[in-house]
Amino acid sequence: MSNHTGVMEKKNSQSRPLLPKKTRTCFVLSETARAYPAEETVRLLTTIRAYPGRFHTIEGPESYEIPEKRYFQRFSLVFRIQHILLFSSCILLIATGLPLKFPDLGISSSFFHILGGLQASRILHRAGAVVLIFVGCVHLFYLLFTRDGRKNFMGFLPSFKDVTDVMQNVFYMMGFTNRPPRFDRFSYIEKFDYWAVYWGMVVMIFSGLILWFANLSLALLPKYFLDIAHEAHSDEALLATLAIIIWHFYNVHFNPDRFPMSWTWLTGKISEEEMKKHHPIEYERILKEEHAASGEEPAGIASGEESRNIGDERIKQ
C-alpha cells in the first residue's frame, strides 16, 4: 500500500487542477479490486485484450501509471436510491403479477404453489405496490423540491432535437452518414426509458389501486370501469415488462459496450470517455462551466465542437 500511495503523491503534483482528488489513482492489476470502483474491475476483467498494457505495468514502478481517468458524477445518491427501490419493487411486482396474466402456463401454477398460494403472492404484490407508490411520491417531491431533480427533469423534457437525433442515429446506424448524433445529458434512448416508466407508473398505480380497493371502487364506479382498469393493468404490465427486458436491458446490460452492465446505477459515476462518447454536449457544457469558473479558455474543446457543428451542417445540406 505504501508503494501505491507514493505513486498517488507523485501524480498529485502533476495533475490537472480540474480533477477531483478521489478519482485520481493508478492501475495495478493486483490492487485493482481494492483501489477501483466496481466498474473498473469488471471492465478490466472483461476487456483484458483491449488493454494489453495493463499486464506489463507490473514490470516496474514507472509503468504503474496509465493515463488517468476522470469521472463525472452522473446520478446523485437520491437518484440512485430511487432507481434501486423502483427496480426492486418492479421485479417483485412482475414476478407476482405476470403469472396471473398467464395462468394456463404450468410455470405459473407451480410458482404460486412454491410461493404458498395466491394469498401469499397477493400480499407480496401489494408490498411491491406500496414501495412503487412510495418511489413515485418521492420522485415527484424530488422533481419539485430539489435542484438536482429539477435539473434532471429539464434534461428529460422531450425536445425537437430528439426527433432529429432519432433520424440521425437511424441514418448513422444504417451507414448513410458517419456522424452519430450528439446527445445532451439524456439521449432520446434514456428519455424514452424515463417517460415509459413515468407513463407506466401512472397507469399501473391508478388501475392497481382501483383493483386493490375493488369494494370501494365498486361503490363509487360502475363495474365496467373496473373491467377497463383490469385490462389496462394487465396490458401495461406486459408492455412494461417487455420494454424493460428488451430495451432497458439491451441498453444497460447486453449492449457490447456495457456488458455485463453499466455500473453507473451503483456508483453514480461516468467516465470521461463515456461522457465524451455518449453525452458530448453535456460534457462540453460542464467543461465550459468549469473553465469559466477557473477563468481559463477551454480552447481545444471549443474548436473541436465548432468543427463538429460545421460537419453536421455539411451533412444536412
Binding site: P103, F112, N215, L218, A219, E231
Partner: protein, 363 residues
C-alpha cells in the same frame, strides 16, 4: 332258491326301484334331489317360486320378479345364478349372497381408475363411502339402475335414461328434486328438452363426490369446466339463444384466474348463479337478475351498490359489450406491437452498425 322265486323277487325289486324312481323324479324336495341351474332356460325353475303370475305357485315369502319383463331387460338372457352367486341349485339357502355387479362391470366399480372411462369408480364416490361407513340408505348400483328391470341406457324405460334421471335421483333426494324442478334446467327437462342438464350432467354418474371434494365435477376447481361442457357448446346453446362465451370470459376474469390458481374463495359459476335453482337473469327470482345482483355480490364483497349491475358481467372485449374496454384493449395491443417492433428494430440496427463499423466505431 327256485327260479320262479328269484324272478318274483327281481320283479318286486324292479317295481320298487321304478316306483322309487318315479317318486324321486316327481318330488325332488321330499327326496332331497336338487335342480342344477346352468342355462337361461333353467330360470323357469326360479320363476316357479319367484314369478308372480296369477294362480302361479309363487310363495308369499319369496321376492317377486316379473319374469316377462325380465326377459326384455338388458340382462334378460342371463341365468339368475349369474348374478345371484352361491345359488347353484334348488333348493337354495334362505340367505343368499348380495349381488356383485362388479363381477362383470368391473370398469365402473373397480378400485383402479381407468382414465379413459368417463365413470371413474363407484368406490370413490360419496355414495360408496357412506355405504362403507355402514349407512344402508346410501345408493348402491341397484338404487339407481334398478334390479330386474335394468334396460340399456338408450331405452326409454331405463331408470338411467336422461328423461328419467331426475326421478331416479329424486327418489332419495326429494328436496333437491323440488328445487331443481323450479330451475330453468328443471323446467326445460320437464317440458321434454332433452339437452337440458339433468343431475348426472353436473354431478357425474358413478363418481359422484361431495362438492367440497376438489375432485368433484361440481367442486370450485371443476365447476366451470362442467358447466362449459354444455354452455361452451355452440350447437346446443344456439338452439336456445344462450351465449357461449360465459365460461371463456369467466376464465379470463380475476375470479377465474384466482380459482384456477387454487384460491378456493374466489367466485365460481355456482357462487353467483346458484346450482339447483339456476334461473336466467331475466327472471325476477334469479340471483343474477340486475335487481338482485348487489345482494349476490354482497355474499363476498362489502356493501356492493347497484354499480355492480352496470355493464355486462361476462364481458368480452368487443364493441358491443364495452366500447371503452375495446378501445383500451386494442390501444394497448397496438401500442405494444408498435413499440416492440420499433425497439427491436432499433436494437437490430445498432448491432448491425456495430458489426459493420468494427474497429472504427468511434469517429
Amino acid at each position: 332258491m327256485r327260479d320262479h322265486q328269484l324272478r318274483k323277487v327281481l320283479l318286486i325289486w324292479t317295481l320298487i326301484l321304478m316306483l322309487a324312481g318315479i317318486l324321486f323324479l316327481s318330488s325332488p324336495r321330499a327326496l332331497g334331489y336338487t335342480i342344477k341351474l346352468k342355462t337361461p332356460e333353467d330360470n323357469h325353475s326360479c320363476f316357479v317360486c319367484h314369478a308372480q303370475h296369477p294362480g302361479s305357485e309363487a310363495k308369499a315369502k319369496a321376492p317377486h320378479v316379473d319374469d316377462e319383463e325380465y326377459g326384455l331387460t338388458a340382462h334378460g338372457n342371463l341365468t339368475c345364478t349369474e348374478c345371484h352367486e352361491g345359488v347353484a341349485e334348488i333348493p337354495h339357502p334362505r340367505r343368499v349372497l348380495d349381488v356383485n355387479c362388479g363381477k362383470c362391470h368391473s370398469l365402473q366399480v373397480s378400485i383402479d381408475r381407468d382414465p379413459k372411462s368417463t365413470h371413474y369408480s363407484y368406490y370413490e364416490s360419496i355414495h360408496a363411502k357412506a355405504r362403507l361407513r355402514g349407512e344402508r340408505a346410501a345408493a348402491t348400483c341397484t338404487s339407481c339402475h334398478g334390479t330386474h328391470n335394468i334396460y340399456a341406457v338408450s331405452d326409454k324405460k331405463s331408470r338411467t335414461q336422461r328423461g328419467n334421471i331426475p326421478t331416479t335421483c329424486g327418489s332419495c333426494h326429494k328436496k333437491v328434486l323440488a328445487t331443481y324442478l323450479g330451475s330453468i334446467h328443471g323446467k326445460a327437462w320437464k317440458s321434454g328438452v332433452n339437452d337440458s342438464a339433468v343431475c348426472t350432467d353436473c354431478h357425474g354418474e358413478h363418481d359422484i363426490k361431495s362438492p367440497r371434494d376438489l375432485e368433484s365435477h361440481v367442486s370450485s376447481a371443476h365447476v366451470a369446466d362442467t358447466c362449459s361442457r354444455c354452455h361452451s357448446n355452440d350447437k346446443i346453446m344456439k338452439k336456445y339463444g344462450v351465449p357461449v362465451t360465459q365460461a371463456e370470459t369467466y376464465k379470463e376474469s380475476f375470479h377465474g384466474v384466482a380459482n384456477k390458481l387454487g384460491y378456493k374463495v374466489a367466485a365460481n359459476c355456482r357462487s353467483c348463479h346458484g346450482y339447483h335453482d339456476i334461473l336466467p337473469s331475466s327472471d325476477m327470482a334469479s340471483s343474477i337478475n340486475p335487481k338482485n345482483l348487489p345482494r349476490t355480490c354482497g355474499q363476498c364483497h362489502d356493501n356492493p351498490t347497484q354499480n355492480v349491475a352496470s355493464g355486462k358481467t361476462h364481458v368480452l372485449i368487443s364493441k358491443e359489450d364495452n366500447m371503452l374496454l375495446f378501445v383500451v384493449a386494442n390501444g394497448f395491443k397496438w401500442l405494444t406491437i408498435g413499440t416492440m417492433l420499433s425497439l427491436v428494430g432499433h436494437i437490430s440496427l445498432d448491432l448491425y452498425n456495430r458489426s459493420r463499423r468494427k474497429g472504427k466505431l468511434h469517429p
